[in-house]
Amino acid sequence: MFVLIVGAGRVGAAVAKSALAAGHEVSVLDEDPLSHERLDAGQDKSWEDSGGQFTVGTALEMDALIQAGIERADVFIASTAGDNTNLVIAQIAQKRFDVEKTIVRVMDPARASWYGEQGLHTISPTKHAIEMFERALELEPQRV
């Protein structure tokens, strides 16, 4: 599988490493060249030597997405720091580039559930955190 991950923060970088270790082809796009270090951290070999691809660019720039290989991506993961950026680029991946599987990180639980209903695969870390706190305190979950 060819996996394109946009946003190499803690989450994006960790998922990228796992995907590469599992034998997938992985390309990472991030606007900050320094985020490359997160991919190298704790590894014996550099990201590229392990077979990973890294592109510096802004997620909304079509050229950067194409350079990072969106046209042949089987999986697209939007994990930048911005919910709205993630939601927009995920829809671009889905609608313009017909990427088969698109997964979006959305911090805001409300936006995550509404866009989830619209057919986007959203993951909301905030929602999971809330649920874990509620469980730890044995609280009845309230509707968001």
Binding site: L60, E61, M62, V88, R111
Partner: protein, 225 residues
């Protein structure tokens, strides 16, 4: 009419003033605390503090009864999100979005956010108007209806000079609707003869510009700016 304006920068603030002075009800949403405090005194209850990409902020502003949502923040993703949610979740028919980076215009189009207004594009249109040898001027684009109206100056070596309108076989999907000659415009008749220096207005399907240019201004090069 009730309009929600998202982003209280120069554009948002002035739009709010204009709409209010015309008697419309307006809510101006601003996500920066500092900016909100600066406008609160002038706009009072019409200004609200909050990130309009949060659904509850839009609901608090009364998105359910809004006739128009205008997203003019400095962030294209935010503008897209606000308009998309307004249209698709809250069924607000009329949205207007600002495009900050013209390269993002396609994204607005792809996600159905129309009209999307870009200052760069607007200024380019003005330049087309001001620079006479530019050849083709876009006067109006009805994107949803897939029609546009353009203006072309007829060059002296154009193949249509000296021809009657009835004898010019334009491509399917285009029509001459007006001729401007010596400062006045008129609707051409079939026997109107096209002269060099005329400005012709055409309505056409998008994408026919190049083909049409060949009829009236074959060497219509953009002027050096």
């Amino acid at each position: 009419m009730y309009a929600i304006i998202v982003g209280a920068g120069k554009v948002g603030r002035n739009l709010a003033r204009e709409l209010m002075s015309k008697g419309h009800e307006v809510t101006l949403l601003e996500s920066s605390r500092q900016c909100y405090l600066a406008i609160e005194e002038e706009f009072e209850h019409a200004a609200q503090y909050g990130d309009a990409t949060e659904l509850w902020v839009l609901e608090r502003a009364g998105i359910q009864r809004a006739d128009l949502v205008i997203a003019v923040t400095g962030d294209d993703e935010d503008n897209i999100l606000v308009c998309q949610v307004a249209k698709e979740k809250y069924l607000c028919d009329r949205v207007i979005a600002r495009v900050n980076n013209p390269r993002n215009h396609d994204h607005f189009r792809l996600l159905g956010i129309q009209p999307a207004v870009s200052a760069t594009d607007l200024i380019l249109r003005l330049i087309e108007h001001e620079v006479p040898r530019y050849g083709l001027v876009h006067l109006l684009a009805l994107e949803e209806e897939r029609l546009e109206i353009i203006e072309l100056e007829v060059s002296s070596d154009a193949p249509t000079v000296g021809l009657r309108v009835a004898d010019i076989s334009l491509p399917e999907g285009s029509l001459i609707i007006s001729v401007l000659r010596e400062g006045t415009g008129f609707v051409p008749k079939p026997d109107t003869v096209i002269e060099a220096g005329d400005e012709v207005l055409l309505v056409l399907d998008p994408g026919l510009e190049d083909a049409i240019t060949a009829y009236f201004a074959p060497d219509g090069q953009p002027a050096a700016l």
